[in-house]
């Protein structure tokens, strides 16, 4: 099978599975909602106070919630030894990685679409800067999160304590991407400072880690 066919089939399979079971998306949404509510209880904020820190809060909520979906990406393939079937299949493994990443990207994007209005309502947000910057920040930050998360999911699935390990590996690596995404979001929301540099930074980060992920994925999956 070619790269494109494998990618298309795997992605279609994952989306169909998710569409029927809604396992990842439901648990992720509920988790994110809980984080939003607990945050607003933990910090009693006025709209003026919440604007500069809302960028940070939304990204923390997304990071925590994304782990829920990322953990299911590979554990789903353990049943009936599907992962082993992938390993011996003559299909290019990079396309599997890319398909999984795109799938997770779609799930987290749906999450972002639902969670953004919630934040606007609960924290009385109003963007001072241009909104397209927020869209760019959410797309680029999302990709940075899922590309690393999908890769580290494949690593942690090969270890003893699968679900526990993923956040422990993913969070330290995600710090620079988080920092840039929060910076871009906060700068746009407050209208203070430019979001240009953090967005470029995120784009470079995405390209580098997608390339490294694609390059090392086969090594990780075939590790004996």
């Amino acid at each position: 099978m070619t790269f494109a066919t494998t990618l298309k089939n795997t992605l279609a399979k994952d989306l169909q599975l998710e569409w029927r079971s809604k396992d990842a998306i439901n648990s992720m949404l509920f988790f994110a909602l809980l984080v939003v509510v607990i945050f607003s209880f933990s910090f009693d904020l006025s709209p003026e106070e919440s604007r500069p820190i809302a960028g940070g809060l939304v990204w923390v909520a997304l990071l925590f919630a994304a782990v829920v979906a990322l953990n299911q990406t590979w554990s789903r393939e353990l049943r009936n030894s599907v992962l082993d079937a992938y390993r011996i299949a003559p299909a290019p493994l990079e396309s599997l990685f890319l398909a999984k990443t795109i799938g997770n990207f779609i799930f987290v994007s749906v999450l972002e679409l639902v969670i953004a209005p919630l934040f606007v309502i609960f924290y009385n947000l109003r963007s001072v800067g241009p909104v397209y910057q927020l869209v760019l920040a959410s797309v680029l930050g999302n990709w940075a999160l899922v590309v690393n998360g999908t890769f580290f999911g494949a690593i942690s699935i090969r270890t003893r304590s699968r679900e526990v390990l993923l956040p422990l590996l993913l969070f330290p690596i995600s710090i620079p991407a988080m920092l840039a995404a929060v910076n871009a979001t906060a700068n746009t929301l407050t209208g203070e400072g430019s979001a240009y540099l953090p967005l470029v930074f995120l784009a470079v980060y995405d390209v580098v880690f997608t390339a490294v992920g694609l390059f090392l994925f086969e090594t990780v999956l075939q590790a004996e």
């Binding site: 270890t159 422990l168 590996l169 710090i175 620079p176 910076n183 930074f201 090594t219």
Partner: protein, 228 residues
């Protein structure tokens, strides 16, 4: 091998003793900061050893993925562990110095924050090594190390660019020009001593890891023989 190790250990011990004397007695007391400045003779050399260990771990991880030799993996895990130990010492001695001089234990300054994030990344590497079992262990850890080291580059840039709201503290002492030659001597003796200590620890850890690998291998061979 054993006698070489003993000789090197003795040299390290002598260097550390000399360094201790230089740092506590030989070097003059710094004019503004007082005796607390002497912690620099440990803080900076430890940071230096850490800066040797982590890039070494990166290169060894790449080398392991290319050649798949267990010796390389043993050396990689040794450098990572020793690097984390020295990074911890840096993070502990920093606040001890910072409290009396800056008046605060910690500031989210670029250098401090990057060191902390670096520490977090390599601790996650060690956790992965602890949690993964058997064969894939080394390959998974090597991949994470490559991610981690590339990430460190982004960490340095991100923190420099996006967390600049805090004033950069002025580093007194150090290797600036115009410092007392005795201070410089104490500094370089300790640099040499701690580099030797770092190498010694990596060496020791390497021997231990190789022994562990050989024991594991012997167990595997025995199990294979039993089934035959």
């Amino acid at each position: 091998m054993k006698s070489k190790f003993t000789i090197f250990a003795l040299i390290t011990f002598a260097l550390l003793s000399w360094g201790l004397y230089e740092a506590l007695i030989g070097a003059p007391t710094e004019a503004t900061m007082g005796p607390v400045q002497r912690i620099f003779y440990y803080h900076v050399p430890c940071a230096w050893v850490m800066e040797l260990c982590f890039p070494a771990n990166f290169l060894l991880s790449i080398a392991y993925l290319i050649w798949r030799k267990p010796e390389i993996d043993a050396l990689a895990v040794s450098t990572a562990e020793v690097g984390v130990v020295f990074c911890t010492i840096v993070l502990l001695t920093g606040p001890i110095w910072g409290k009396p001089v800056w008046g605060i234990w910690w500031t989210w300054d670029a250098r401090l924050t990057s060191t902390l994030v670096l520490w977090l990344i390599y601790v996650s590497y060690l956790i992965l090594r602890k949690f993964s079992i058997g064969g894939p262990n080394a390959v998974l850890a090597a991949s994470l190390a490559i991610f981690g080291c590339l990430d460190a580059v982004f960490v340095f840039m991100a923190i420099r660019w996006f967390r600049t709201q805090h004033p950069k503290p002025v580093f007194g002492g150090g290797a600036d020009s115009g410092i007392d030659p005795r201070m410089l001597q104490a500094f370089f003796v300790n640099m040499a001593a701690f580099t030797a200590l770092g190498i010694l620890l990596v060496w020791l850890r390497f021997v231990l890891e190789r022994t562990r690998q050989k024991v594991e291998e012997a167990h595997a061979m025995k199990a294979l023989g039993a089934t035959r």
